[in-house]
């Protein structure tokens, strides 16, 4: 760890805070966003009026859909709970975020497939319930197959990468190319 020989003056600290290319936001002990620097407004596209007082949970939920690199540090201090650091994602990070988003989408039908298969294997249900569970299981297999075919089985990279989106496209049954 690098230690400073003398602590920064308020002016030096303000320069660092205001001109840092990383967006920074502090969370107070009550769990609300307290301070943020100009870079945070730029990289999140959120106005200061929206940010001030926002709960950390709402803030993190908003960040989840943005193509940003994001680090959260617990401060352990008496006035600050945590600091969030953000910056626009690099192409590689966007690719990783896109894949993480795809994993998230695929885990949804996989949850039903795993869960209903486990219940059918280990529990004794009446025939009508077994029929319903098997039908749901097959629906989820079909959904997962469609997701794999549409999102992964392609020779071209997803358009979302070059458009800056970190989210794979969740397709609805009525969607067409």
């Amino acid at each position: 760890m690098n230690a400073l020989s003398t602590p920064p003056t308020p002016r030096e600290f303000d320069m660092t805070w205001s001109h840092c290319p990383w967006g920074m936001a502090t969370i107070d002990v009550a769990g609300n966003l307290r301070d943020f620097n100009p870079a945070l407004e730029r990289c999140t596209g959120m106005s200061g009026a929206t940010l001030v007082g926002m709960s950390e949970a709402a803030f993190v939920a908003h960040l989840a859909v943005l193509p940003l690199e994001h680090t959260r540090v617990e401060t352990g201090g008496s006035s600050l709970r945590a600091i969030h650091y953000l910056r626009s994602a690099t192409a590689l990070t966007r690719q990783n975020q896109w894949l993480a988003g795809l994993a998230e989408i695929l885990r949804e039908p996989l949850t039903s497939i795993y869960g209903f298969a486990e219940l059918l294997l280990t529990q004794n249900y009446a025939d009508d319930i077994r029929h319903d569970l098997t039908a749901t299981l097959l629906e989820q297999v079909e959904l997962m197959t469609n997701l794999i075919n549409e999102q992964l089985d392609t020779s071209r990279p997803p358009a979302a990468w070059s458009q800056g989106s970190s989210q794979p496209r969740q397709r609805n049954p009525g969607d067409h190319e």
Binding site: A61, A100, E104, R107, E108, G115
Partner: protein, 124 residues
């Protein structure tokens, strides 16, 4: 009998958890965090299985935070269930006060055992 509230916008996920828990707990369900909060105030469940990413004005993280910040509700055992697998999300869930975190896909029977054990330990 202990009361469990299952909160997920996917009806078949609620059905899966309901079947796994069986008759060991008294069950209520909600399809959104907003509906869940109303049910929490009315029913005062002992535990909640709470999906993180849901449509509506509040997600699972926000509802968890609201529960754990309210001294009258903070004792409710909250299990977050999510398709988001990143360690940062789990750490954030813990920071909000969640008691357990299950990443999808998960074993519904393991979740049911976890709930039964956790509620029994609380009584011991």
């Amino acid at each position: 009998m202990k009361k469990l509230l299952i909160v997920d916008d996917q009806p078949h996920i609620r059905q899966m958890i309901r079947l796994a828990v069986g008759n060991s707990l008294s069950l209520k369900e909600a399809g959104s965090a907003d509906a869940a909060f109303e049910s929490i105030l009315a029913e005062r469940p002992d535990a909640i299985v709470l999906d993180v990413m849901m449509p509506g004005s509040m997600n699972g993280f926000q509802l968890c935070e609201r529960i754990k910040r309210d001294s009258a509700l903070a004792g409710i055992y909250v299990v977050l269930v999510t398709a988001r697998g990143q360690v940062a999300d789990q750490e954030f869930g813990r920071a909000l006060g969640a008691d357990a975190y299950f990443v999808k896909p998960f074993s519904p029977l393991a979740l049911a055992r976890h709930l039964t054990d956790a509620l029994e330990k609380r009584d011991a």
